[in-house]
Amino acid sequence: MATARRRSRADAPAVTDAELIGYYRDMLLIRRFEEKAGQLYGMGLINGFCHLYIGQEAVVVGMQSAISNARDSVITSYRDHGHMLACGMDAKGVMAELTGRAGGYSKGKGGSMHMFSREKKFYGGHGIVGAQVPLGTGLAFAHKYSQDGGVCLCYLGDGAVNQGQVYESFNMAGLWKLPVVYVIENNKYAMGTSIERASAGTELCRRGVAYNIPGVAVDGMDVLAVKAAGEEAVARARAGDGPTILEMKTYRYRGHSMSDPAKYRSKEEVAKMREQHDPIDQLRKALTDKGLVTEDSLKEIDRAVKAIVTEAADFATTSPEPDPSELWTDVLMA
């Protein structure tokens, strides 16, 4: 039955040392990628909308560690670069899409918010707040219809939870016991509006109570807590027991988009999260305390990640613009 409870590190599943180091590397890759994207935006090489994921890395890395990339599908909103990298999409193709070049995942025709990879079962990248929720519910419907054993991870933000279509989806997913996990990335601000100013009920994990969908609040800055909650929810969906809502308590360090000066929150609030709850710092400390890494091995990871990001930026700034003939392609399937 519908419950809402909190999850902490105590429930953390057993993970291997190599997996732990892998999560650290994956989170660092997202962070460095996003920092580079911010820099390229500053240089005028990326334009339009660009929503950075910095601060929220533990959510997607923890959740992706809980699914099977071969059969499970993923869909999210417009703050999506981290999800693509965590799905195993190539950093070069993602960055080149941000710069609007032919080498981008969408041949430069989609941009930051519109990239897809059927191969990696990443279904976007959606720019309309909340629209990915019925779409993700439909992916789950397809898993169930095809009996392929797959589960859909459907990410949404604390802003999307006040869209009506989210509840239309919860209702159908609950009614038909669809294999979907709704991952609410609660970073406390819907653009510039704090959750307290937007939501009559701020315990987002309880948003499924009316549909008999269990909800769990999770420390979204702790990759292992995310993984533990994710594994339980995915197992539940895979067993045919229906959807789960996971409310990830997280934080974005940057503004909503590149042109947001973030005047709606204090510098102290941001600094406190960065200094005391940073998901990457926390895991680095844990790895160091356990003796799994040394100063040198951390530097080696840094260098490897930086090399991937530099290569992506080089590719994204040298890949040509799409051929003009691309204007008229991909409107309709032949």
Partner: protein, 455 residues
């Protein structure tokens, strides 16, 4: 080599800004994420964060400087292991990498402003023996045949299963295909339309029934933004093979919110196909084509037509290619285009006009997008006159589009202005007399045809 820190563009429209304040001094260690400076853009004061790690070696642009152009070097960062002497070795100042700009203009398709069809539309075949069927039965048979043919096809909507369809179009489908493939939804148009598109992303071929198209406005975001645009936005990665179908347009005495034609709304959007069958044969052939189509297709039916009977080919392979109009009645005096129920009105008007010696060529458009331009243009080149007929509003309607196409492609053949007969430009009234006045009647069509014949 020290790393150059450049004046950033911090909004989509910023070309220059003020370097308000440095938060790091020369000699300070910098790690990625540290705030280096405050910059006033055209919109707000923004913090500029460091991306690279190192030591702030030299500030090139002093705090308080105004009008600093984007991409001007504003400081030098010493990387790990570099000493201050390296600052003297910065030889070249930054030049942004030149973007390989590709400014050649792609030529639009020569005959049309619309995106070209990816493959040629096949010719319509001639089928033999026919059977008498209602439009309702033809639609049901189309779905049943395609569901037998392809297990990925399923039907979803309000009252489609146990109730057998609000208008009994899905009668018998639940019995044959079961509840897994004929699915009653809650009243939740945006939800089930979006769910359908997501299922199409996942490789299924949904038929989404709107009890009437009036309710599709709740779901239009998913039809346009999620279904029609995604193939293009993803550079061809993610098709949506999905059908949205249901009755469209005015029924009878149901008032403004339940009496509206959506042809123009959906036909406006690239990435969608839109068909509007008139006869039972149209309904069956076009719906089968729509279900097989790899693109999202909107099928605009008409409630008042459901019970009307027509001859339908018996051939199990019968299909009507999307994009082919049909000349329902040949004539040499005037071309008259119509779709859906208005084809019947056009045929009746043609009968009346024949008695006055005016031979009307009636074109049943069948497909609204893609439009069979060749058929219309060919007819106008023969008749030199065109009247368009539709139930929808005139403003930016299908008649407006056809008039533009003829203006572009057959201007020299015209002997009279293209004339539109449309629904009146008002929300649909309830009162019987007003409703009749709001919808095109046979006498309206007769008058318009006579006018373009100067009679």
């Amino acid at each position: 080599m020290p790393v150059q820190i450049l004046m950033p563009a911090l909004s989509p429209t910023m070309t220059e800004g003020k370097l308000a304040r440095w938060l790091k001094a020369e000699g300070d260690a910098v790690k990625s994420g540290d705030v280096l400076a405050e910059i006033e853009t055209d919109k707000a004061t923004m913090e500029m964060e460091a991306v690279e790690e190192g030591v702030l070696g030299k500030i090139l642009i002093a705090a308080g400087s105004e009008g600093v152009a984007v991409n001007t070097p504003i400081a030098l960062l010493l990387e790990e292991g570099e000493d201050a002497a390296a600052l003297d070795n910065v030889l070249d100042t930054f030049t942004p990498k030149s973007v390989p700009v590709n400014h050649d203009h792609a030529a639009p398709s020569p005959q049309s402003l619309c995106a070209p069809e990816p493959v040629a539309i096949p010719e319509e075949k001639v089928y033999g023996k026919t059977v008498r069927q209602t439009v309702r039965e033809a639609l049901r048979d189309a779905m049943a045949e395609e569901m037998r043919r392809d297990p990925a096809v399923f039907l979803m909507g309000e009252e489609v299963a146990q109730y057998q369809g609000a208008y009994k179009v899905s009668q018998g489908l639940l019995d044959e295909f079961g509840a897994e493939r004929v699915i009653d939804t809650p009243i939740t148009e945006m939800g089930f339309a979006g769910l359908g598109v997501g299922a199409a992303y996942g490789g299924l071929k949904p038929i989404i029934e709107f009890m009437t198209f009036n309710f599709s406005m709740q779901a239009i975001d998913h039809i346009i933004n999620s279904a029609a645009k995604t193939l293009y936005m993803g550079g061809g990665q993610l098709p949506s093979s999905i059908v949205f179908r249901g009755p469209n347009g005015a029924a009878s005495r149901v008032g403004a919110q339940h009496s509206q034609c959506y042809a123009s709304w959906y036909a406006h959007c690239p990435g969608l196909k839109v068909v509007a069958p008139y006869s039972a044969a149209d309904a069956k052939g076009l719906l089968k084509a729509a279900i097989r189509d790899p693109n999202p297709v909107v099928v605009l039916e008409n409630e008042l037509m459901y019970g009307q009977s027509f001859d339908v080919p018996e051939d199990p392979d019968f299909i009507i290619p999307i994009g082919k109009a049909k000349i329902e009645r040949a004539g040499h005096s005037v071309t008259l285009t119509a779709f859906s129920r208005m084809v019947g009105v056009a045929l009746e008007a043609a009968e009346v006009l024949a008695k006055d010696g005016i031979a009307v060529e009636v074109i049943n458009l069948r497909s609204i997008r893609p439009l069979d331009v060749d058929c219309i243009v060919g007819s106008v080149k023969k008749t030199n006159r065109l009247v368009t007929l539709e139930e929808g509003w005139p403003y930016a309607g299908i008649g407006s589009e056809i008039a533009s196409v003829i203006n572009e492609q057959a201007f020299d053949w015209l002997d009279a202005p293209v004339t539109r007969v449309c629904g009146k430009d008002v929300p649909m009234p309830y009162a019987a007399n007003l409703e009749r006045l709001a919808l095109p009647q046979i006498e309206d069509v007769v008058a318009a045809v006579k006018a373009v014949c100067y009679r």
